[in-house]
Symmetry: C2
Subunit: 401 residues, 2 copies
């Protein structure tokens, strides 16, 4: 198999850990696999560099930040290659630019424009293990860029797509994707498989294994991704296309997001474009509106409820103040949370939502808002019931089985 293995900051956080990574790569090579390794900077290193830059300037230039931040991955990239050679393996370290990663010029959050396969495959064809510095690329003019948060995962997925790898393994300090947060429900179970779409819903809902940007790219390039731990030999979770997820359980996972506040507008003026005005105003202030539900109100007027991050509630209040009477009676509640069930099986099963509502009702948990999509049902409830709701639903959908 041709495999891309990506190791995160804690996995290369010390000399000993880098040596452990080399041993793991050696194992794959001994199995007969050809391996490309993508590494993050040592954990804490990027923050240290950011800290130094902000000591120098509150608003450090993005272009220079990229030159600064890209240095961390070069260190681990070189050290990992050296560790592999020490084991007697053929290895070559490549910077993002040397690996052919061409990005646009949006410094500190550049987008990958192109990855020709040749810079990496030429070394693979020579029998070498290729080690690539994650998180970084270069513009066509040779300007150094970085890819923003989760950039090393993106590097790994993009390279896996470019060289048509059989698998992209993302090594972190957790075993994979769980049915829910194990700190909330100790019966939470690791999923063997999850579809790209389910992963997208779970990720945006707080499962922090892999950022949506990387999942989206994996889906687009049809890269099979496994997230697993570099600290043990456990199997991990395969993220792949829906067709490959044979079992299709009704519900794959339950996500809890406690950073939610509810804004209620009761009796919104009945004129075209009022919704657009409201949400464009919020967007222009960079307030992230999440769930939006609209219901019919009295006298032809409508009611509108939506959620924003708790931390942005005060801003949202100010923004809505400008609308005067047009938004009707305004209500705000920052003591809410969002609980979501996610699963591709929902599409073909009836009664999934009903079971969710009745399970919560049995425990007298009042539902404040409901929003549904093809593979997800989210409810907003009082924050104090968040963890309880997760445990109730985890049992209701038999996720511990």
């Amino acid at each position: 198999m041709l495999i891309v293995q990506k190791y995160g900051g804690t996995s290369v956080g010390s000399i000993e850990r880098i040596q452990a990574v080399a041993k793991r790569v050696e194992k794959a090579v001994m199995r007969g696999d050809r391996v490309v390794v993508v590494v993050s900077a040592m954990s804490g290193e990027t923050n240290k560099l950011i800290d130094m830059a902000t000591q120098v300037s509150k608003t450090p230039a993005a272009r220079e930040m990229d030159m600064l931040l890209s240095s961390g991955e070069r260190v681990t990239c070189a050290l990992t290659a050296i560790a592999l050679k020490e084991l007697g393996l053929e290895a070559v370290a490549l910077t993002g630019r040397q690996a052919g990663i061409v990005t646009d010029s949006t410094h500190t959050k550049a987008r990958i424009e192109e990855i020709p396969s040749e810079p990496v495959t030429k070394h693979i064809n020579e029998g070498k293990i290729v080690v690539v510095a994650g998180f970084q690329g270069a513009t066509r003019n040779g300007e150094v860029t970085t890819l923003g948060r989760g950039g090393s995962d993106l590097t790994a997925v993009a390279i896996a797509g470019a060289i048509k790898a059989d698998l992209c393994e993302i090594y972190t300090d957790v075993d994979g994707v769980y049915t829910t947060d194990p700190r909330v429900e100790e019966k939470a179970r690791k999923l063997d498989r999850v579809s790209y779409d389910e992963m997208l819903e779970l990720a945006s809902l707080g499962a922090k294994v892999l950022q949506n940007r990387s999942v989206e790219l994996a889906k687009k390039l049809q890269v099979k991704v496994v997230t697993r731990s570099s600290f043990n030999e456990n199997e991990g979770t395969l993220i792949t296309s829906e067709e490959e997820c044979m079992e299709k359980p009704i519900v794959s996972g339950i996500a809890l997001d406690k950073n939610q506040a509810r804004c209620s507008l009761i009796g919104v003026a009945d004129r075209p474009g009022i919704a657009a005005e409201i949400f464009e105003t919020l967007a222009s202030m960079a307030i992230n509106v999440d769930m939006i539900v609209q219901t019919v109100g009295q006298d032809g007027k409508t009611n509108m409820d939506f959620t924003v991050p708790s931390t942005e509630l005060e801003q949202a209040k100010r923004a809505l103040g400008g609308f005067g009477e047009a938004t009707g009676k305004q209500g705000f509640d920052d003591q809410v949370c969002k609980v979501s069930i996610v699963g591709v099986g929902m599409k073909s099963h009836s009664g999934v939502a009903a079971r969710m509502f009745s399970s919560l009702a049995k425990e007298n948990i009042n539902i404040l808002m409901i929003s549904t999509s093809e593979i997800k049902i989210s409810v907003v409830i009082a924050r104090k019931y968040g963890e309880l709701a997760v445990r109730i639903l985890h049992a209701a959908y038999e996720l511990d089985k």
Copy 2:
């Protein structure tokens, strides 16, 4: 004026120091100068990286070492540019490769092959301060290389030559070039000017301000170099062509090298090529032979004395053992040192050597070996008299005046 300013590791050793560098650059800009800044890695950083690599492998690959080591200068380069921008100045950070520094592929001690002026001058012409990461370059194929010890000085001198700068200022933690080591002779005086050739002799003899490689390049490219401290406003020492050194003092400085051991071969076999055989054998074992003197011996045989670093004496003994009777009677002395006087004025003054010998004789210091060149006279004496000899000669040539 168009100035290249190079700041060493201690000069950029902390956030505060980097901010001080930015202020110094600002001063030059306020004077109306256009400035290119070359920076080393933070002091200690390169050693930290080397230490990590040697923890991973006793023989880390040179190519990967270069990727590793070049990261340190990228950090200070980016931070310095950020600090300059924070002062409201226009600045741009360039890696060695971006600055156009093309080297051969001798990793860890690459030689500069070419520096086109355009990559740097295009930014200067836009009114920007250019900050260049020292010590590094890239091959024509985009492989990262480093220039070896003193590499950042070399970067500065080479860029100064490429862009035809009026001056190359090398900032370190010492004030400039002294008549001798101030720790040995407290009356040692900083030189205002010194010629390239004098500097070459002083540097190889232990004055550690600027490596010979950089002085040689400065001489070749006719770059005027000033070495000065970044910790004060003192004037520093101008290193320039002999023609520019108007005063031409008889002796400019006195150097002491205590890492010397003497090997004496008395009655070397009188056959052609024996000297070549001896020194080729030593060279093949990477033993650095310094002074060599040969005198006529008895019976047509010759005597040969030479010095090697004390640390390499045992190796030299083993090497010479292989020659059997051919090298005659062998004697070794590792309790010697070399004292040298250097000055372009010697060329046109007679009696310079005589004054040296008589001054030492007056204090009963026995001379074991003598070697002379156009602008230098070196003597080997017992090590215990080294410091005394420096002080005697410092006074004899009135260097404290």
